[in-house]
């Protein structure tokens, strides 16, 4: 090796990369400070004082609890549906080469490649054409549709790494298809599925654009926040909820990362 230069970056590159990362993180950290401010009417900086009373106020607000419960329910069911559909599609695409494979991949990716507003308005106009009233299930319909892709991406990557000869060996040793699935395939893909499921949960829990079109009068937590952003009622309470949302979404992302970090394809790299 001739030069040590290649081992360490130039100063300007270091500064540019550092500033870039700071730009990505400081705004989110700022939310944490604002959750403790005593100022109610404006976004004044620096905060005139610090208090924890807004946590108690937020805790006692029934509308927040209702929105949170709805969001968790929707995200759980949408995740389960997305896991089933995504795994099936991934298994089909991974195990055999058949006519129209590309179409399946495109179909799965489309709901996330097109702007959310198009998915939203398409579903809404379809509901109104078919005279379907807005319910809990119309929200889930939309969420499951765009959650399939994250499960699919994770599962396809893992299936590709899982050797087909393992399955053949299991069959040769006398296991039937279901036993092979239970004892050979499932343990191999389990962490990828879990990671995909967590990302799907995070995606659904946070979704607002499609939801505004499919929720009608119901309010999930993101919709609750959106309304507070447009017509603020009690700003400090919104700050507290924002901070909690940040913490709640970070946990599944970190978990998904640790579940898949030793593999070639790391979960979440294609939201």
């Amino acid at each position: 090796m001739r030069s040590d230069r290649s081992q360490s970056a130039g100063l300007s590159l270091k500064i540019a990369a550092g500033l870039g990362l700071a730009f990505l993180h400081l705004p989110i950290l700022l939310i944490f400070v604002y959750a403790f401010t005593t100022e109610e009417k404006s976004f004044q900086w620096p905060p005139p004082g610090f208090t924890t009373k807004w946590f108690a106020v937020a805790w006692n607000r029934p509308d927040i609890w209702e929105a949170l419960t709805l969001s968790v329910k929707v995200a759980s069911i949408a995740t389960v549906i997305a896991m089933v559909l995504g795994t099936l599609a991934a298994a089909a695409v991974a195990r055999t080469k058949f006519f129209g494979r590309e179409v399946i991949s495109l179909l799965v990716i489309l709901p996330i490649a097109l702007p959310g507003i198009i998915t939203g308005i398409a579903l809404r106009s379809a509901f109104s054409l078919a005279d379907i009233p807005f319910t809990f299930w119309t929200i889930i319909l939309g969420h499951a549709t765009f959650c399939v892709v994250v499960v699919y991406n994770n599962a396809v990557a893992r299936f590709r790494r899982t050797s087909g000869s393992l399955i053949e060996a299991s069959m040769d040793l006398g296991a039937d298809g279901f036993q092979t699935f239970r004892h050979v395939i499932l343990p191999n893909i389990a962490t990828a599925l879990l990671a995909g499921g967590m990302l799907a949960f995070a995606l659904s829990f946070d979704e607002v654009i499609v939801t505004t079109f499919t929720a009608g009068q119901q309010s999930t937590l993101p919709i609750w926040m959106l309304e507070e952003l447009i017509r603020p009622r009690q700003r400090p309470v919104t700050n507290v909820v924002a901070m909690i949302v940040v913490i709640v979404t970070f946990l599944p992302i970190l978990a998904a990362y640790y579940l898949t970090r030793d593999t070639d394809q790391i979960a979440g790299s294609g939201k």
């Binding site: 700022l30 298994a91 097109l114 198009i118 926040m225």
Partner: protein
């Protein structure tokens, strides 16, 4: 292995599950079809069906007097897109998407390059999570954070004042068109928030492309006498370009379809997403909303075709 040889070794399995298992083994296509039916039904019927229903409606028109939808084939609704007020919306959105894409590419490159080439071991993980956490953290919370930052009484005004640079901020806001009363109600503000929210989507593909550039290529360029600017211009940038184009697919498409950011941070002039939302909601003009939403679909179709030619999909 054929069906005959398996049955020659062992007798058929007993029980429902056993027989099913044998059936799937003998006819793998049956299993394939069974696996494909549920996702195809869901995505094909619910999703693509809805999309087609929407596209169909863009060929209808709305009766100006009764406000009812006239179910006859017409291109009149598409003609309305060309009216100055509507065409301005499209133009404004495209300009914003282009500006956001360029700015994201410039800011993303150093982060992606550092993460791809210099970050090792623990730092690799730090960079990975450092990009992934903002990408996955709540979209609305990110927008909200910027509403706090850009507010007139917020932290940015405070920083400018502390640095005795208030004149600079006022100067920026005084620029016609992109300026305004405060950052939170100007195009400049909208632009900053868009760049912030979509930046990770640009970093990831750029980083993936840069990771494939062999380090000795850069060294060779240096050994052959190129300075770092020439190396960037003639070696690094061309090799990273497919990744940047791949990232631009996301930044461009996401900016074009967004209707929440310009509503919360920005002027009262509409973007395509807001126009779609307003037309289908308060105005009740579903055909025009549908025609508006065809614009991003067509533009993304063209964009994807060009991107594919430039090899952007290999970088994804």
């Amino acid at each position: 292995m054929t069906a005959i040889s398996t049955s020659a070794i062992t007798p058929g399995r007993q029980g429902l599950m056993g027989r099913l298992s044998d059936l799937f083994w003998r006819r793998p296509n049956l299993l394939l079809v069974l696996m494909l039916v549920p996702p195809l039904l869901w995505l094909g019927i619910i999703y693509v069906g809805s999309l087609f229903a929407l596209l169909l409606q863009s060929f209808f028109s709305i009766d100006e007097f009764s406000g009812l939808i006239n179910y006859e084939f017409t291109l009149a609704t598409y003609g309305e897109l060309l009216r100055p007020a509507n065409f301005d919306i499209i133009l404004r959105t495209l300009l914003m998407s282009a500006a956001v894409t360029l700015a994201s590419a410039v800011i993303a490159f150093p982060i992606a390059y550092y993460a791809a080439r210099y970050a090792k071991g623990r730092w690799k993980a730090v960079f990975y999570l450092g990009i992934m956490l903002p990408l996955w953290s709540s979209y609305l919370v990110k927008v909200y954070a910027w509403k706090l930052i850009l507010a007139k009484e917020g932290i940015l005004t405070w920083i400018f004042a502390k640095l005795h640079l208030t004149w600079l901020l006022d100067g920026l806001l005084a620029i016609p068109v992109i300026g305004g009363n405060s950052l939170s109600i100007s195009y400049l503000g909208t632009f900053i928030v868009f760049v912030y929210v979509w930046l990770p989507f640009m970093i990831l593909p750029t980083q993936a492309a840069l990771e494939r550039v062999p380090g000795n290529l850069i060294e060779a360029s240096g050994d052959l006498g190129a300075d770092s600017r020439q190396t960037f211009r003639h070696v690094l940038f061309p090799l990273a370009l497919p990744g940047i184009v791949a990232g631009s697919i996301f930044t461009f498409s996401l900016t074009m379809g967004d209707y929440i950011i310009p509503q919360i941070v920005g002027t009262s002039r509409l973007f395509i997403g807001q126009a779609v939302y307003a037309q289908q909601g308060t105005a009740g003009n579903i055909p025009l909303a549908a025609a508006f939403s065809v614009v991003p679909i067509v533009i993304m179709g063209i964009y994807l075709t060009i991107a594919k030619r430039m090899g952007a999909f290999d970088a994804l």
